[in-house]
């Protein structure tokens, strides 16, 4: 880790001013940032500690039925919040399927959105990587790409976004509250992360010095509470990133699907919402045929980066069918012992 200047910001205005300086990085829990700094993957010259900022650590139900979650709320505190667990159960299930208890106790909401890819060619700090060092090339393409993207990738970058939390957030139309020099703005979570294109070094819509202050789940999202599940397939039963995951939810109305929501993790450099597949489910009776059709539509246009990750496309279809099947069966009153696991009993 190279030496850096450390500043503790006591107001959001202070943080914004400090964050605009070149080479600055905001530090919340540091579970990803400190790890990357230790590995020399990222080398900020200035670290702005935002953990003491006031007003960013609460979970508040708003008058309009939406839920505002401060950017500094710990992942475990979101997952364990009774209102979140009851109203947005697949958000809690996804959080509890991610990382370990120790990491969830530290990691924050804003940090989860800002975490970097776990592409091994990015994190080794040595290989050519257009994300880490623009213009250096992509060492992943043509090499060990079992975990890499099958949607939305470019010749410049084939990495995936590692978050579980962001997948149900995308499905439920969450929005991100951002504070900057020009004031506050709100961005839909599905628009927050950028696909790599020709500029994989740009990962989100945040401008230099902008800060995430909160996340909002809209009131409408609560209507899916009774039929909402997150399903995560990984290389071991716990404490592993998703190979493929899906958040599936529906509103059942007179034996038919009124509305459906479906988004994937592990497929692309952002949580991958599939609104066309959602549309295909609307008005249908919940059935294996309807789920299979939706899964087929959801993976339309998917393309592996090589032989190694071609399996992810069929796996994603099957994960979608299973997640939809689980969602239709109803959200369990208590989360299974192994959240989001295909080996769970529920």
């Amino acid at each position: 880790m190279i030496l850096f200047d450390y500043t503790r910001a006591s107001t959001v205005a202070d943080a914004l001013a400090a964050g605009r300086q070149p080479g600055a990085a905001f530090l919340a829990a540091g579970t990803n940032l400190v790890d990357l700094m230790k590995g020399g993957v990222t080398n900020p010259e200035r670290v702005i500690d935002i953990t003491r900022l006031p007003g960013l650590s609460g979970i508040e139900a708003q008058a309009d039925g939406s839920l505002r979650i401060g950017a500094l709320v710990r992942n475990s505190d979101v997952a364990d919040d009774p209102h979140v667990a009851k109203t947005f159960p697949m958000v809690a299930e996804a959080l509890l399927a991610g990382a370990s208890a120790q990491l969830r106790n530290a990691a924050t909401v804003g940090g989860n959105l800002m975490q970097r890819t776990r592409c091994q060619y990015f994190t080794d700090a040595i290989s050519p990587c257009n994300k880490r060092q623009p213009g250096s090339g992509c060492a992943a393409l043509g090499h060990a790409t079992r975990i890499h993207a099958v949607q939305g990738w470019s010749e410049q970058c084939i990495a995936t976004h590692p978050s579980d939390f962001c997948v149900p957030l995308a499905a439920l139309d969450a929005s991100v509250e951002i504070e900057g020099q020009g004031g506050t703005r709100s961005v839909r979570l599905t628009d927050f992360h950028l696909l790599p294109g020709d500029h994989p070094e740009r990962e989100t819509v945040l401008e230099p010095g902008e800060l995430i202050t909160a996340l909002t789940l809209p009131a409408e999202a609560a209507r899916f509470a009774g039929n909402a599940r997150y399903l995560k397939v990984r290389d071991r039963t716990s404490y592993a990133f998703a190979v493929v995951s899906a958040a599936a939810a529906m509103i059942l109305d007179g034996g038919k699907i009124g509305q459906a929501r479906l988004a994937f993790g592990g497929l692309a450099l952002k949580p991958w919402r599939v609104t066309e597949a959602e549309g295909a489910l609307a008005g249908k009776a919940p059935s294996p045929e309807a789920y299979a059709e939706a899964a087929r539509i959801a993976l339309d246009g998917a393309k592996p980066t090589g032989e190694a990750n071609a399996f992810k496309i069929e796996l994603a279809r099957r994960v979608a069918v299973r997640a939809l099947t689980l969602a239709a069966a109803g959200t369990p009153a208590r989360l299974p012992a192994l959240p989001a696991s295909p080996f769970g009993i529920v």
Partner: protein, 163 residues
């Protein structure tokens, strides 16, 4: 330039002058304060050997910059027993052979204390295994660890019922 911080460490207040902002809580404990119970396994948040409680919650001390924890309350394995009386989780690890080489054990025990405080796993083996998945044991003493946590969890729940 030094950065002063205050920590309550195993119940006692400490004023510490950090001469480098890069020092993690783990390195502070081990290298500066002589508390070598928390272990440096991977040093990257993957193995759990460095687990301690910060403000009552288990975390990986290798990923926390000490400077950022000014004012925090830290509990390490050294602060767990009351004199010679072992904490119920410590006693259960001995009774159920919850270790072989012992390197991961302080982290396992602190993680188990955190898990039991969280109060969600009870004595359900599957929930305990899931709740302890952030602690790796390369000797593979998981069967004994599970029995130890189950036993301690049951005893501590009973104790709370009686209280």
């Amino acid at each position: 330039m030094t950065i002063p911080i205050r920590l309550t460490l195993n119940g006692k207040p400490h004023a510490i002058d950090l001469d480098d902002p890069r020092i993690t809580l783990l390195d502070l404990l081990r290298e500066r304060l002589g508390l070598t119970g928390a272990k440096k396994g991977c040093d990257r948040g993957q193995c759990g050997a460095c687990t301690v409680l910060v403000d009552g919650k288990r975390i990986n001390s290798c990923l926390q910059l000490a400077v950022s924890l000014d004012g925090a309350e830290v509990l390490t394995i050294e602060g767990l027993s009351e004199g010679d009386a072992l904490h119920p989780v410590q006693a259960a690890f001995i009774a159920h052979d919850g270790f072989q080489c012992g390197f991961c054990t302080p982290g396992q025990i602190m993680s188990a204390v955190g898990l039991i405080r969280e109060g969600k796993a009870g004595t359900d083996p599957e929930r305990i295994r899931e709740g302890m998945s952030g602690n790796i044991c390369r000797c593979g003493a998981y069967a004994g660890i599970l029995e130890a946590v189950k036993d301690a969890s049951g005893r501590m729940e009973q104790r709370e019922d009686a209280a």
